[in-house]
Each structure stands twice: as structure tokens, then as C-alpha cells.
């Protein structure tokens, strides 16, 4: 939860991604309370409405849930849910730009595949 905000992307998206990253890294555990809208607003010096929008994205996706009067909590199965969602977005987020750049540089399909083959092992840590 302590990454810097960048100006490249909407802040609420960054807030929800940071929360997701923290869940994937076990910084936030399932059934644990996540920082409140106001806590996030103060930490990042952002409008609480923006922080709330980021949190609500995750509520809509079933990753966080609300306990009335207490706060937002990480749902059971949240980690798996985030992985699934990111898998679905993987093509749009990463592969599309790789393919575009490869075409611009005249990297052939076979070259690209052999690049992936040669490097896959070293980047599977995460």
C-alpha cells in the first residue's frame, strides 16, 4: 500500500491495483480489514471520493466486502479471483503491446516465440 502514485493512470485504478497487489503479496490477508477510504485519502493526499471509487471497484468484483459499521474486508478466495481477472486482462494489458512493438520492429512470429522459450524459466519467479 505504499507505492507512489503516478500520473499515467487514473488514481482510483491505481488504488485498486495497489490493494490487489497487496492481497497477492499477502500484505493483506483474506478476512482482514483493509485501510479505510479516509486512511487511504490521507496517506496519498487524495480526495476520499477517489479512494472510495477504487475500493468500490474491488467490492463490485467480489474481492472486498463490507461489514456494516466496521469497514471493508478481503473476501475469502480474493487472491484466486484477482489472478483470474488479471489472466483475463493479460492479453489486452501486455500481449497486445508486445505484438504491436514486435511488428514495428519486424520481429517475426518464430523469433518472438523463441525469445519467450529462451526466457520463460527465468521470469517465472512471481
Amino acid at each position: 500500500m505504499n507505492e507512489y502514485l503516478s500520473q499515467e493512470k487514473s488514481i482510483y485504478l491505481q488504488i485498486s491495483e495497489m490493494l490487489e497487489n497487496d492481497i497477492l503479496r499477502d500484505v493483506l490477508l483474506e478476512e482482514e480489514r483493509v485501510p479505510s477510504t479516509n486512511e487511504l485519502a490521507k496517506l496519498y493526499a487524495i480526495n476520499p471520493a477517489t479512494a472510495a471509487k477504487g475500493i468500490n471497484l474491488l467490492v463490485d468484483a467480489g474481492i472486498l466486502y463490507k461489514k456494516r459499521g466496521i469497514g471493508m474486508f478481503v473476501a475469502a478466495g480474493a487472491k484466486e479471483c484477482i489472478r483470474m481477472r488479471r489472466r483475463e486482462a493479460f492479453f489486452d494489458t501486455y500481449l497486445c503491446s508486445i505484438l504491436d512493438e514486435a511488428k514495428r520492429l519486424n520481429i517475426s512470429r518464430d523469433e518472438l516465440i523463441s525469445m519467450i522459450d529462451g526466457n520463460y524459466e527465468r521470469s517465472t519467479k512471481d
Binding site: 500520473q7 490521507k42 496519498y44 493526499a45 480526495n47 471520493a49 514495428r104
Partner: protein, 308 residues
């Protein structure tokens, strides 16, 4: 917390023969942080002073919770305009001491929070025995911040609160502001030229240009519909054909433009162009900056209120 709105209709303000504000309509709602953005001379300070009855309006109306604001204590009790301090008042130096300044503010504002004022003075390391004319620019800003926050008014206007403040003090101010806002939910309207670091505070942004409101919109929505497109000039023109295009810049075959998309519009697909998000600061430059001399007449440059 009060639920009153501050509303102005067709507000015109002249100083002598010179008209500064040309018919402004605004609605300031409770429980929001607004940013007031515009160039020097756009009329920001004038707008704030007529909205708070510190200066008479020429025509139009200003009401708080349905009541006229002018010379109406019942309305003004809810409103604070923390003006920029001046080292000189009238013909002489402003020789009031900081603590006397704060003391007089405490009589003005019915909800004055003395313990908050005292704490802020300590945190900002302000010497309350100093005379205002002996303060640095940054220290004067700190005094206006203390007054604004401690006033606990339902609607609080700050005019360039961070002018002259170092980056640490600015950061401290943003956090104090959010602390107060998350606790009280009162409305703040902040004019600033340091847009880049404050934009994330503003739920809504008001662009004032040449005495008119250019736009008033949720900051988030505004930034989502602003996009910078660059690439080969023909591709950029083709991808942005029919859209509201601002601030074209050309270099050789390359061209960059800022586009403000309207609902339902999008940048045409299928062109090898770069698209980047635009922050408030760059948007202000694109919308209010001087247009560079166009090299060709094929650019449709929108600059009227309707085209936003």
C-alpha cells in the same frame, strides 16, 4: 454539518468601467473539495471576494441556503474566505502581530477552533509574536491556512494557500486539509497555481478563464475525457477528425494535439499514434494557453464555451 449551497447566478462584477466577471453561474455544494483554476487575471480572487460579500456585486445574485449573502450575518456565519495577507495595508506596513490577527479571526467566525489554531501555529513553527509585515511569503500563507482551517466554516475559500510554501509545508497542508475534511465534511474551494500536486484533492474542478467559467466538472470525468494524441500529422488529423482539438503543436511531420472527448466520442482506431493521459495542468495550458501560430489552416481549434 450544514447542507446549504452557495449559488451565484449571472454574476457580473465591474471595477469602475472594467468588467472582470462576465455573468458567472456557479453552485457550490456541501461536502466537496473544489479546485479553482485559471490564469493570472482570470478573476479568481475577484470571484471569491464577491461570493463572500467582501466586495459588492455589480449585478446578479449570490445566495447561501436561499438567503442573500450581502450584509447578511446569518449567511456569512457559514462562510470563510481566507484572503492572501499583504505586508502593506492602506498607506503603511501591516504591523498587526500574528496572534492579534488570529485573535480577530476568532471573533469573526462563530465556530472558531482555538485549539486547532494553536496546534497549527506550533506545527508550522509560526512565531505568533511577529508582525505580519515581517513574515516571509510562505509564513503569510501559513497564517491564511490556519485561519481557514480553524474557522470551521461550512464553506471555506482559500486563495492560493500554498503560494511561497516549501514542498514539506505544502504536503503538510494537503494532509491537514484532508484530516479536517474527512472529519467534518465541510466544503473547501481552493484556488492554486500549483495544479499538478493538488489535482488529486479536487473532487470537482472549476476552470475560470477571462472572467467566465470555462467548465465545472468532476475532476475524474474531466481527466478521463482529455487525451493527448501524437504521431504523424496526417494520422493524428485522421484519428481526431470531428473532435474538439486544442493546442496543436507541430514539428516536421509530427504533430501533437489535446482532445477533449464529449460523451460517446472516441479516438478513431487503426492509426499508429500515441495516446497519453493529460493532467489538469496540461489541460489548462491546452484550453487557456495562447495558441501557437498555426502552420496550416486545416486544424479546427475550438475555443468557445460551447465546444467543451
Amino acid at each position: 454539518m450544514s447542507t446549504g449551497k452557495l449559488i451565484c447566478n449571472d454574476l457580473v462584477k465591474k471595477y469602475g468601467k472594467k468588467e472582470i466577471l462576465h455573468g458567472i453561474d456557479l453552485e457550490i455544494e456541501p461536502n466537496k473539495i473544489y479546485g479553482l483554476i485559471g490564469r493570472n487575471g482570470a478573476g479568481k480572487t475577484t470571484l471569491l471576494s464577491v461570493l463572500t460579500a467582501q466586495s459588492p456585486i455589480t449585478s446578479g445574485t449570490v445566495t447561501y441556503n436561499g438567503m442573500p449573502v450581502w450584509e447578511n450575518q446569518a449567511a456569512l456565519d457559514h462562510i470563510c474566505f481566507s484572503r492572501e495577507l499583504n505586508p502593506v495595508i492602506g498607506w503603511g506596513a501591516n504591523s498587526l502581530k500574528v496572534r492579534d490577527y488570529l485573535k480577530s479571526a476568532s471573533y469573526f467566525f462563530p465556530n472558531w477552533d482555538k485549539s486547532l489554531a494553536d496546534r497549527l501555529v506550533r506545527d508550522f513553527e509560526l512565531d505568533s509574536r511577529k508582525k505580519v509585515c515581517k513574515l516571509s511569503k510562505g509564513m503569510m500563507s501559513m497564517v491564511t491556512i490556519v485561519i481557514a482551517l480553524a474557522s470551521k466554516s461550512d464553506i471555506t475559500f482559500l486563495d492560493e494557500p500554498v503560494a511561497g510554501l516549501d514542498v514539506i509545508a505544502r504536503d503538510a497542508f494537503y494532509r491537514e486539509l484532508l484530516d479536517d475534511y474527512t472529519e467534518t465534511g465541510r466544503t473547501f474551494l481552493i484556488s492554486t497555481h500549483i495544479i499538478e500536486e493538488a489535482e488529486s484533492l479536487f473532487e470537482e474542478t472549476i476552470f475560470l478563464n477571462d472572467g467566465r467559467t470555462l467548465l465545472k466538472e468532476s475532476t475524474q470525468t474531466l481527466l478521463e475525457r482529455a487525451v493527448h494524441i501524437s504521431g504523424k500529422a496526417e494520422d493524428v488529423d485522421a484519428a481526431t477528425a470531428g473532435l474538439s482539438v486544442y493546442h496543436p503543436e507541430k514539428l516536421g511531420r509530427s504533430k501533437g494535439v489535446t482532445v477533449l472527448l464529449k460523451e460517446g466520442q472516441q479516438i478513431a482506431d487503426g492509426f499508429d499514434i500515441s495516446r497519453q493521459s493529460v493532467n489538469l495542468q496540461n489541460l489548462l495550458i491546452a484550453l487557456c494557453g495562447k495558441e501557437p501560430q498555426p502552420h496550416s489552416a486545416d486544424v479546427s481549434v475550438g475555443n468557445t464555451e460551447d465546444s467543451l
